[in-house]
């Protein structure tokens, strides 16, 4: 247990200022609020939550694309700010959601995949060409794809290109931000299988962000549930899916519609009030929607109950409710 975690986030906080329309007053939105987590090397941490819960902001903090407002992010035990960009690139790489926005439409596939190598500035042209061809083949693309433009590729193929670009430097860590959300089911399965193979082959650590619980259950070894900028529950995958402790996790699991006919649509038990990151409720931030909230939830922030591998923030979890 003494090994350095691949990713360690310590009390990270990130706020944004939004202009409230032409006449509204500017408001402060807390996207990530005092988040701490550690991802052991070689594991896959899945992060789930609804839109606006801060999961993508967290990914950007970990990639160093955004600075934290407070707290710090350590990648392989080193602080991100001030890290040499080339060194950082060899350590951690992203795969983004939208395969149409994540590739420069004006560059050829080969150049896109080669970009991290070029940025290193220490590889010769021939070596770059060889590595790119190898990598393209590894992600299941014909090497003649190198001469094509992104517009000539399908969504699934583009996502393979993005994966090739992310892995060409053989980084230790890959942050996957909803990598299959924009893809069709049949293609999603291809990409998920590819990501799983590559992880074994290159011994990668993944931070895997998704709103699709079934996908996260499939790929993650550990899952963190985010709600309004905070991790409300985190546990090993099997434990979280079989014995969820936070009512929000339970609601999320209840809303998964598995392809099993005859079960009907479940009642998730949440009200109509939707979370607003600019207006975070006092006490437990989930209490306005919580089906089991008690009086205390509206005023007192729930304590963090942490065990060796799991933790939860809920007043009612004290009793170990499952």
């Amino acid at each position: 247990m003494s090994a350095t975690p691949a990713i360690e986030v310590k009390s990270a906080r990130r706020t944004f200022r939004t202009s409230g329309g032409l006449f509204g007053t500017a408001r402060e939105v807390v996207a990530v609020d005092d988040v701490s987590l550690a991802v052991p090397a070689g594991s896959v941490l899945g992060i789930v939550g609804e839109s606006g819960c801060g999961k993508s902001t967290l990914a950007r903090l970990i990639l160093g694309l955004l600075p934290t407002t407070a707290g710090e992010v350590l990648v392989d035990g080193q602080r991100l700010d001030g890290m040499d960009r080339r060194f950082r690139a060899e350590l951690i790489q992203p795969v983004f959601q939208d395969p149409f926005a994540s590739l420069n439409p004006r560059r050829r596939i080969g150049d896109i995949v080669a970009l991290p190598l070029v940025a290193q500035g220490k590889f010769a042209g021939a070596e770059i060409g060889r590595k790119v061809a190898e990598m393209l083949e590894r992600v299941g693309l014909a090497s003649d794809m190198a001469g094509r433009l992104p517009a000539e590729l399908s969504g699934g193929q583009r996502q393979r290109v993005a994966i090739a670009r992310a892995l060409i430097l053989r980084p230790r860590i890959v942050v996957c931000d909803e990598p299959t959300s924009a893809l069709d089911v049949s293609v999603q399965a291809q990409i998920l299988n590819l990501l799983a193979e590559l992880r074994r082959e290159f011994n990668l650590t993944y931070l895997f962000i998704s709103h699709n619980l079934a996908v996260v259950e499939h790929v993650a070894t550990e899952v963190a549930v985010m709600y309004l900028g905070r991790i409300v529950e985190q546990a090993p995958t099997a434990e979280l899916f079989h014995a969820p402790r936070h009512p929000y996790t339970r609601a999320l699991l209840a809303s998964v519609l598995t392809p099993e006919p005859g079960l009907g649509v479940p009642d998730v038990g949440l009200g109509d009030i939707l979370p607003d990151p600019a207006n975070i409720p006092p006490g437990c931030r989930f209490h306005p929607r919580c089906p089991v909230a008690i009086e205390r939830c509206g005023s007192v922030a729930p304590p963090l109950l942490a065990a060796a591998h799991s933790r939860v923030e809920c007043h009612l979890a004290v009793a170990g409710a499952a």
């Binding site: 609804e50 049949s186 293609v187 399965a189 699991l253 519609l257 392809p259 006919p261 109509d272 939707l274």
Partner: protein, 328 residues
């Protein structure tokens, strides 16, 4: 059930560029039944629905062997005749609740206008009806909501407003085009539960378009699976999930990770290749390039086989090709 409420046969839609988006689709939606049209992006499911409503963008051409709604021939109907049906006896809701409401007008104004147009009601009557419908879709304080603009509502609320608006004139048929795709999972479950409840209570016929087999399983009475502009398999829901016949349907079902059913780390089933764009004049089975069972004959006309009562599929393979799925 004598005649289907919506009876479509041989529906074809071709786009200006020569893409054949829909190639001879046949769908029958019965009264009081939820019929799901499922498929991946670009398979022609949304285009089929828009073609039924005659809402295709300019540059798309529609033709059909048969297109009847409640016994009325939609093909011979004029634009005005069609407009009189739309929003009145057949209503439609869309995927993007954030952009589907006009940002410049209040919820009330947009809801009442449809009632006043089709029912010729007074402002007061229409407003009362709008408030009633908002309450019916589970919106609290409907009076206050009527005066609000769309941007003041969350996505889930807007989709509720869209549903309420669609039901203003008591339609017989509701076409819902991916109504929950843009919503969060918990809101999706809420909206689908609401739709299912309304369908039951009002005896609505619903044509629900989705790419999500989970939704299909939970809400559909009947399913039509579309691929490359064709309905490749159509069956009762239980039947389809228990005995899928078309290789594409089978592949699609294998692709979906089911919590608790697939061991983490184990590869998912997947279909190789990409969804094709089919040009006008394309012959044969649209799936043959990705199909493990493809043979040279698949490039010719493909027969439609029956696989039991009200279950048919478009493939050369005989119905007993696979036995029962999930029997193991």
């Amino acid at each position: 059930m004598s005649e289907a409420l919506l009876d479509i046969a041989g529906l074809r839609v071709t786009f200006a560029g020569g893409t054949a988006a829909v190639r001879g689709t046949a769908i029958a939606v019965n009264r009081g039944e939820t019929h799901c049209l499922v498929g991946e992006s670009g398979c022609g499911k949304s285009v089929s629905a828009l073609a039924v409503m005659n809402l295709l963008a300019r540059g798309a051409s529609r033709s059909a062997d048969r297109l009847r709604f409640a016994g009325e021939d939609l093909l011979s109907l004029s634009d005005t005749g069609m407009a009189r049906l739309r929003g009145n006896r057949m209503a439609m809701i869309f995927q993007e609740p954030m952009t589907s409401l006009n940002p410049a007008y209040t919820v009330g104004s947009q809801m009442t206008e449809v009632h006043r147009r089709h029912k010729g009601s007074s402002r007061q009557v229409a407003t009362d009806r709008a408030a009633e419908m908002l309450a019916r879709v589970g919106i609290t304080a409907p009076g206050m909501r009527l005066g609000q603009f769309p941007h003041q509502l969350s996505g889930g609320l807007r989709q509720r407003v869209m549903i309420a608006m669609a039901l203003m004139c008591d339609p017989e048929l509701l076409i819902a085009d991916e109504p929950t795709t843009a919503l969060d999972v918990t809101v999706q479950a809420q909206i689908l539960r609401l739709l299912a409840g309304l369908q039951r209570d009002l005896g609505l016929a619903v044509l629900l378009i989705t790419h999500d087999l989970g939704i299909v399983a939970r809400v559909a009475d009947r399913v039509s699976v579309m691929y490359a502009g064709e309905v490749v398999e159509s069956a009762r829901t239980n039947d389809l999930f228990a005995r899928p016949q078309h290789p594409y349907t089978r592949g699609l079902l294998d692709c979906v990770p089911v919590p608790g059913k697939i061991r983490p780390g184990e590869p998912l089933g997947s279909i190789p290749g990409v969804v094709p764009r089919v040009r006008a004049g394309f012959q044969g089975c649209g799936f043959r390039d990705r199909c493990a069972f493809a043979m040279p004959e698949c490039a010719a006309e493909v027969p439609r086989h029956a696989a039991g009562e009200a279950h048919d599929y478009l493939c050369r393979l005989a119905a007993d090709w696979s036995g029962l799925r999930g029997a193991a």
